[in-house]
Each structure stands twice: as C-alpha cells, then as structure tokens.
C-alpha cells in the first residue's frame, strides 16, 4: 500500500511539474487546479494489487459476519455466581454455646461473654480478616437503640485485634444513607478508635451469590463476605412490626443488596434462608438498650428500655429465642424460630443447651 502511495505521490508530483507537457497547451491547463490531474495508467501488478486488497477487505467483512452471526439478539453473559463459606469454627463441648452477661460496663460485659465461650483466641487466629456485622440500618443516634451500641462494636473489634486479627472490617447495608447511618450511630468513630475499618456498601461492592434457600436464590451480597475469613454477627434487640422482632438471624438482611424489600412478603422463610446461608464464627447480641416499640427504626427515647445485657453464643436460634422475652414475646409468636430449628440451625429451647449466666461489676 505504502509503496503505491509513494508511487502515486511521485507520479502526481512529476505530473504537476511536467503538466504542461502532458496536457499540451498551457491554455487548457487550469493553473493551481487539482481537479484535472490524471491518474497514472495501472500496471498489471497494480491491478492485481488493487483486486487483492478489495478482495481481502471483502473476505474480512464476510469473516466478521460469520463470527458475529447469531440467532439471538443479544449475547448472554452468565454472571459469576459465588457461594458463602461456612465461617464457623469447630465445635467444642467443653465450652458453653450461650453466655448471658449482665452489668454496667459494656466493654467488660463483652469480654466476659466471649471469655465464657472460650475466649476470642478460640475464634480468631493471628492473621485473620474479621468482618463485623452490626445493625447499622438507620440514621439514628446510639441512645435511640435503632442500631447496635457502638461500644459493643468497639469492644469486639478490640478483642479481635488482641487475638491477632490482621484486619477488622465493619460493614452493613444500611436502609438509610450508609454514610449518615455509620456516622450518627457512632459506629464509624468507635470502630476507627478500636482499630477497625468501616467498609461502606457502595454500588459496586456486591457479588451475585447463591443463597441456596427455599425463598432466597441468587442475590447480590456484599463482597466483603468473600474477602473476610471470619464473620461476627453483632445484632441489637428490637421490635419489628412484621416479623415481631429483629435479632441475630434477621440481622443478615444487611448482607443483601438489590430489592430486598420483597423479602417482607415471605418474611419467616426468608429469615431462615438468610441464617442458613450466613453461618457466622460468633454472635454477640447487644441488649444494652433495646427498642420495644416503633421498630425497627425507633426515634423516640420513650420506646427504648435499658437492659444492660450482653449475649454471646454460637447458636443463633437459641440467642434469638432467649432475647424474645425482653420484647415480651414467646417463641410461638415468632414462626421463624421453629422453622429454623427444623432446618437444623439451632435450638429454640435454649435451656437444653450448655449455657451460662454471669454478672460483671
């Protein structure tokens, strides 16, 4: 190609110089006009070249058509589907499955509760990346008890650091604006102070995940659940108009993105599916302040009751079942508990487990 272009250029340059000779009389030549410049006569080689190039282009078009041809209007890309790992540690019959600690000092209560279960070193090893999942659903202040008490988050984060965790992340898919919710709940500040990082749920922070449930199939789940190797559930005890209560099992709503509001239409099986999909390393329930009415968002201090209680445990069903009493509910009023027990997620009758109650301070 290039060679020919050069040839053309030289030919036309020569033509321009010698145009008087080629076009005869100067009168017929329009000076400065490029319109009347004459194309050189094609040689056989030139002809073959031109035919070759055009045929090559034609063949290319045909090939593109062949490659691109489809009977479907769009090409379907099957998205990568992830699954959640089981974050639990191996069971140990020497330690209780449920610890109830009452007291005044949140930090001391959390420490005691985890100690009863065998201490944080039982759950967190050096180099672990720990994901804490408090309830940070709402743009509310700590006293309003709509979110997990920030002191509980800080105490657990500190315990993880002490046990040698490489990183401690705090995340939740807030219902209100996440930045406002994390700031005003005091959880962002408490986490940072305890050496943990907040991982906000940005729109690109979800991975399609198979929840393998009866109601919940493939849903967008926070990608941090793929990156962490330990998960600690940090729910708060609150009343909820539809499910009756929002406790440890329902706290897993906060791993989902997408149109999760639809879960309300079949809320009890959804809660069971969630709890079956996310099996945490440990659960610490915040019952320091609980929300009795107007839940789960609250807003009025009149609806908050101070209970000064911390629970820790490895059986979410038992934890939820224990906490119900604080809200004045019985296990029969909350269908998801029996469903969860049937599903093998734990025991509704927490008294049948190895459990322990302590008082600190």
């Amino acid at each position: 190609m290039d060679k020919h272009r050069e040839e053309d250029a030289t030919a036309s340059a020569a033509g321009a110089e010698s145009s008087e000779e080629e076009t005869g009389s100067p009168k017929t030549r329009r000076s400065g006009s490029r319109i009347n410049r004459v194309e050189p006569v094609w040689s056989r080689r030139r002809f073959l070249h031109e035919v070759g190039v055009s045929s090559g282009l034609a063949a290319g078009v045909a090939l593109l058509g062949y490659v691109g041809y489809s009977r479907q209007a769009v090409r379907e890309k099957s998205p990568e589907i992830h699954t959640l790992r089981d974050f639990r540690v191996t069971a140990d019959p020497h330690h209780p499955l449920l610890a109830v600690v009452r007291g005044q000092q949140v930090e001391a209560m959390v420490r005691e509760a985890v100690q009863v279960l065998g201490g944080m070193q039982r759950f967190i090893q050096r180099g672990d990346t720990v994901l804490l999942k408090p309830n940070v659903g709402w743009d509310r202040q700590p006293e309003q008890a709509a979110n997990t008490n920030p002191q509980v988050v800080a105490a657990v984060a500190r315990l993880c650091r002490e046990a040698g965790a490489k990183a401690v992340w705090v995340t939740d898919c807030s219902i209100n604006d996440p930045r406002r919710s994390f700031t005003r709940s005091g959880i962002e500040a408490a986490a940072q102070e305890a050496g943990a990082e907040v991982r906000f749920p940005g729109s690109n922070d979800f991975l399609m995940t198979d929840m393998k449930g009866s109601v919940l199939k493939v849903w967008p789940v926070l990608r941090y659940f793929q990156q962490a190797n330990k998960v600690i559930n940090l729910p708060v005890v609150k009343q909820h108009s539809l499910s009756g209560c929002t406790l440890a099992m329902k706290n897993w709503y906060g791993v989902l993105g997408g149109q999760r509001n639809r879960l309300h239409q079949n809320i009890h099986p959804s809660i069971v599916d969630l709890a079956a999909a996310v099996r945490p390393t440990l659960t610490v329930v915040d019952a320091t302040r609980i929300l009795l009415r107007n839940g789960p968002s609250g807003g009025s201090l009149d609806d908050v009751k101070v209970e000064n209680t911390i629970l820790a445990g490895l059986d979410e069903v038992a934890l939820d079942s224990w906490s119900l009493a604080l809200l004045g509910l019985g296990a029969s009023q909350v269908p998801y508990l029996a469903m969860a027990e049937q599903h093998g997620l734990g025991k509704v009758d927490w008294r049948s487990l190895n459990w322990m109650e302590r008082q600190v301070g």
Binding site: D139, R140, I175, N176, D177, P178, R179, R180, T183, R184, F200, P201, G202, S203, H240, S241, L242, Q259, N261, R262, H264, Q265, N266, I267, N294, P296, S297, G298, G299, S300, D302, D303
Partner: protein, 514 residues
C-alpha cells in the same frame, strides 16, 4: 528574557490555577462525609451577579452573598480581574480556547480585535436584571458560577463516577443532567470559533463586571510614543479589548498576555504615565438596551400568567425542607444545584417543566430516586441565596409528643394506591413502608384484618394506612416500596408546610399520643 521576578501573566496563571482547583475542591467537599467546616459555597457567594439579582427580587443581601461586595469593590479599583483570575468558567474557557484554537497566528490578530457582537452580553444583563427587578429571577440560567456548579453537579461528576471515580457511594442520577452539562460542553466548544466566546459575547456576570469597571484606577495602559503599531499585543488577548488602540476598559480581563507580547515595552499595568493612551468607554447602544429591557419587561407578565405552583399546586413539585413559599422561593433560587450536590440520597433533582417555565432546574424531590433523610438539613445550609432556609434538626423533625410545641416540617403527604399495594390488592404481606417510616410514632400504621383469598382460604394480613397529621412527606416509604416502577405509596406535595393553599384536612394537626 528576565529570570527571577515572575511577570503579571505568570502570577495571573497561578491565581487562575489556584481558583479553578479551589472551585473543584470545594465542590468535592460538598457532601455529608467531607462537608465539615468548609466554605463550600464560596464561589456562589462571591458572585456579584447573583447577589445583585437576588437583592433586586427580595431587597436583601443574604448572609454569605455579602462576600460579593469584596469582588465589587476590587473591580472598582482593578477592573474585570474576576473573569481571568477567579471565575472557574472563565478559566476553563481560557484553557479550552488555547486547546481548541483553529486559527493561524496571522488570524489571531483579527480574531482578537473588539467586535460589536460583544455588546450582546450587556443586553442580556439588562434583560435579566429588569426581570429580577420585576420579581422574576432567571439569572441562574446564565450566571457562570451557577451554570458551572449545576453542570458539574448534575452532569460532570456523575459522569466521572460512572467512569470509576469515587465521589459517591452509589452512582447518582439527575433528571436531564446530560442536557444541563451539554450546555457547558457547547460553551467550551464555542471557543473553537472565537476565543472565550462565552466570556466576550454572552456572560451576564462579565457584563456586570464590565459596567463596574468603567473607570478603574489601575488598568493596562499604552505609551503612545513607544508603540509601533505592530499589533503583537493582540496575538493572545483574551478579552478582545484592543490594547493596541484605545483600550476597551470594560472588556479587559487583565489576562496580562499583552504585557508579555509587547516588544517595545509600551504596555504597562498601573496608573497613567505622561504619554499613556486614553481608554474607550463602554460601547452599547442605548436604543438596544431599552429594547432588551422592554422585551424582558414584556416577558414577565407572560411568565406570571402561565402555570406556576404558586397559584395551583402540582403533586410532583415537592420542595426541599425549609423551602420558602413558591413565589419567594422562585425569587431566590438561582438553580445552582448546590443542594443537589450535598443531598445524601440523590432525591433532589432539577425540575423540568412540572412547576412552570420559571421553575426549570429548581430543586424538587423525586422519591423514586431517593428520599429526604430524616435528620438531614444540609440543603438549607449550602443554599447560597436562602431559597431553602437553613434549619436545625429539631426544627425540621419537630416534636410529636402530646406536649410538643414544635411542628415538624412537612414536604407533602403520602397516599396509598390500593390497586398496587400488596396487602391491599394482592393478599401479600409487606408493610415495608411502615418499617421505614422515620417519625415516632410512625405516620404509617396498620390494621390486622382477616381476608379470604381466591380459593376461599382465610388469611390474616396487615393493611397499612397513613396518618396525615404525622406524615412529613419525606418519601422514604415511596422510595423503599417493593413495587418497583410506580410505588404503591406515593408522596404528593399536598400538606407542605410552606404553602397556605396546598392543603387537605381542616384540622391538620391533632396530636397523637406517643
């Protein structure tokens, strides 16, 4: 070439770079996570045009707008320095003029001569100010700072986020944002045809500053003895202000390029010297000026007699919390979109024509895109003109308790669409709206009812209701409703605190026991 002392052009470039950076930096800081303590509205408040126009419509110089006096005073002494030293749109135009220039050097001399077309901006200014004097504030459509802020907020930054920048947690969307930003692109591209086309021909703020610099103390002055009429000063002249002849004082932006170009040292910036050339006064036709004022004045009754929310409420015209009643609101809103930048949920959107022509690009709440965060009052605090009052949180959320004295600010009222609501129409449990309702006690409540489904099976279900005296119209119910396209509960503007006629229930505020 002198080394060491930077020339005035270099100093101007440093200032321009600094102010452009500052503009972008402050706009980036304007969100909940970064706002604390920064003067994010600085540029809007420095702008004498919005200060003047908003003062004409409502006879006050609102808060930070007093900063504009600083620019006015400096302009009286120095001339139109703002345009090349401070104005971010001017600086962007200057940069893009440089990038897009399509003329040969020889043509630059012609292109940078004064052109009568430059008068257009004075006529535009006259028209806009006459309208403002008659109570119609449309200055924000063309004010460069409002225009640039709006274009960045609704267009450029969402586009950058889409490209992977992390300004926001989630991609924001704005109604017609691309169209708003297209105007900015057109302005920047116009520089290809004439250097700083916008600044020379159209900018009403440039015109105002041009008027204010009718007799500046310091200006570019030419020594008539030294000048050899080589015209080299015109090569990079930004204003098109004829530094080679009688300087058009009101067109000169003090870009200082001519000083550097003059081979004879005939030009200087400062007080007159013994052989300094005279300047030339503002070149506008009085007749054209009167014409444009008359056209503008004639347009006012046209606007006022066409549909507006002030007379007849529109369900979709839900204004941000603390907004003034519609008429004073339109008399103060400069459509700068600062409120839309700071809004954490993306609910604030530039209105199209729902609220009439006057209300184009003013902020409204579109609850399918966001909702008004219960404890958030940021929009009123960044509003440069006070169209949205700066509220405190207690003022906004009020006090619903039986002895509460403070009424909550209401943006509108939520209504159920029983044909779409799952518990009402489809025997399906839901009440997400009740869950997310932020008031205490909740404005959304429910009745437990027993229904029969199609097969005759009895089922218990909770059907939701709205208590209008508690509903504040925040729109979170509409936003979170699982019926994805058109929610089964929707907020309309009726009952909004700011309006006396957009009302519904006679006894509007019975206290409900908490």
């Amino acid at each position: 070439m002198k080394i060491g002392v930077p020339g005035l052009r270099t100093i101007r470039r440093i200032y321009a770079g600094f102010f452009l950076f500052l503009f972008l930096f402050l706009l980036w800081r304007s969100d909940f996570a970064h706002l604390q303590g920064y003067a994010v509205g600085l540029f809007l408040e420095l702008d004498p045009l919005t200060a003047l126009a908003a003062a004409l419509t409502s006879a006050t110089l609102y808060r930070g707008l007093a900063l504009a006096l600083l620019v006015i005073v400096l302009t009286l002494f120095l001339g139109r320095f703002f345009c090349s030293w401070v104005c971010p749109l001017g600086i962007l135009n200057q940069i893009s003029s440089h990038l897009f220039t399509s003329t040969r050097a020889a043509d630059d001399y012609k292109q940078n001569r004064y052109h009568p077309l430059f008068r257009v901006k004075y006529y535009l200014l006259a028209g806009l100010l006459v309208m403002a004097l008659l109570g119609v504030l449309q200055i924000g459509l063309l004010d460069p700072i409002a225009l640039l802020t709006r274009s960045f907020v609704t267009g450029v930054w969402p586009a950058l986020q889409w490209q992977g920048a992390e300004f926001y947690l989630s991609q924001p969307y704005f109604l017609g944002g691309a169209a708003i930003a297209a105007l900015l692109l057109a302005i920047l591209l116009a520089n290809r045809f004439m250097t700083r086309f916008w600044c020379r021909v159209l900018c009403p703020l440039g015109a105002l500053l041009g008027l204010l610099s009718w007799r500046p103390l310091l200006r570019i002055r030419r020594d008539v003895d030294r000048c050899t009429d080589c015209f080299k000063c015109l090569r990079y002249c930004q204003g098109g202000c004829d530094p080679n002849g009688a300087l058009r004082v009101s067109e000169c932006h003090l870009c200082m390029n001519c000083l550097e170009q003059c081979p004879e040292g005939a030009l200087h910036f400062g007080l007159p010297q013994p052989r300094s050339a005279l300047g030339k006064a503002l070149d506008v036709s009085r007749r054209r000026l009167v014409e444009s004022a008359l056209v503008a004045a004639a347009f006012v009754p046209l606007l006022r007699s066409s549909y507006s929310v002030a007379g007849t409420p529109h369900p979709a015209m839900i204004r941000p919390p603390g907004s003034l009643p519609e008429e004073p609101f339109l008399g103060r809103c400069i459509k700068c979109a600062a409120c839309m930048r700071v809004c954490p949920t993306n609910v604030l959107q530039p209105a199209l024509l729902e609220g009439g022509v006057e209300a184009l690009w003013t902020p409204i709440l579109v609850n399918r895109l966001g909702y008004c965060a219960h404890h958030c009052v940021l929009c009123g605090h960044v509003c440069p003109t006070g169209a949205i009052r700066p509220l405190t949180v207690p003022e906004k959320i009020g006090d619903n308790r039986p002895n509460g004295k403070q009424e909550a600010i209401k943006l509108g009222t939520a209504f159920f669409d029983h044909g779409r609501c799952l518990p009402w129409a489809m025997h399906t449990p839901c009440i997400v709206c009740e869950e997310v309702c932020p008031t205490a006690p909740k404005a959304i409540w429910y009745k437990k009812v027993e229904l029969q489904d199609r097969q005759g099976q009895k089922m218990a279900i909770k059907q939701p209701y709205v208590e209008p005296s508690l509903c504040i119209g925040c729109g979170i119910c509409e936003n979170k409703c699982p019926v994805a396209d058109q929610a089964a509960i929707r907020v309309t503007s009726v009952g909004e605190s700011r309006s006396l006629n957009n009302t519904m229930i006679l006894n509007n505020s019975p206290r409900i026991g908490a």
